[in-house]
Symmetry: C2
Subunit: 128 residues, 2 copies
C-alpha cells in the first residue's frame, strides 16, 4: 500500500482529517506522521493499523487520555507489556460492565414497548 493522504486515510478509518490532526497533536499516534516534500501528511500501512486500533478503543468508550497513555507505553518500547495488558484488560472489564448495564436498561425499555404495543393492538381491535 503506497502512502495515503490525510483525506484518504480519514475516509478509510471513518474519521475526519481534522480529527486525525487532532489525534496526532494530542499524542494518540505513535509518532508524527511522515510528510511529503510539500509538507503534506503521508500515512503508511502501519499508521493506518495503529489508527484503526485507536478508533476501536475510542468506539468502545476509552477516553482520549487513556488512549494517549497506551500510545505512550507502546512508544516506550518493549518492557512494559504487562502494563499495556493491564490497561486493555481494565478497559475490557469496563466495557463488559457497561454492556451489561445497557442491556439491562434496554430490557426494561423493551418491556415498556411491549406494553404500549399491546395496548395499541387492543385499541385497534376495539375499533374494528
Amino acid at each position: 500500500m503506497s502512502p495515503l493522504t490525510i483525506a484518504e486515510t480519514a475516509e478509510l478509518v471513518g474519521l475526519t482529517p481534522d480529527t486525525l490532526r487532532y489525534y496526532e497533536k494530542d499524542g494518540l499516534l505513535l509518532r508524527p506522521v511522515a510528510r511529503s516534500a510539500s509538507g503534506h501528511r503521508r500515512y503508511d500501512a502501519a499508521d493506518v493499523r495503529w489508527i484503526e486500533l485507536v478508533t476501536r478503543l475510542r468506539a468502545t468508550g476509552l477516553p482520549i487520555r487513556d488512549v494517549r497513555r497506551y500510545a505512550e507505553l507502546v512508544r516506550a518500547g518493549s518492557g512494559n507489556e504487562e502494563e499495556r495488558l493491564e490497561l486493555l484488560r481494565a478497559h475490557r472489564s469496563t466495557v463488559l460492565a457497561r454492556l451489561a448495564e445497557v442491556q439491562e436498561h434496554l430490557g426494561a425499555i423493551d418491556h415498556k414497548i411491549g406494553i404500549y404495543t399491546e395496548a395499541l393492538e387492543r385499541r385497534s381491535e376495539g375499533a374494528a
Copy 2:
C-alpha cells in the same frame, strides 16, 4: 411511600440533586415537582418511577432533547401512543446497533489481549 426530599430521591435513582433540578428545569419531568410548605421539593412514587424511566433512557444513550420530546408526548395525554412507541422503537434500534458495534470492536481488542497474554507467557517460560 411518603414523599422524598431531593437528596433522598437523588440517592435512590443514582443521580445528584443538581441533575434532578436540571432535568426538571429542562422539561424532562412530566410536571413541576410538588413543594413542601417551605418550598422544598417533595418527590412522590410517580415522580420516582418517571425519573427511573428517564435514567434508563439516558443510560442507554438517548439524548436529553429526545427524552424531553418523549416527556412532551406523555404530557400531551393519550392519543399519541403511536408516536411514543415509534420513539422508543427507534431508540431500541439505535441501541442494538451500538451494542453490536461495541461488541465487534471489543472482539478485536480481546484478540489483541490474547496476543499480548501469549507473548508474555512465552517470555516467562523462556525466563524459567
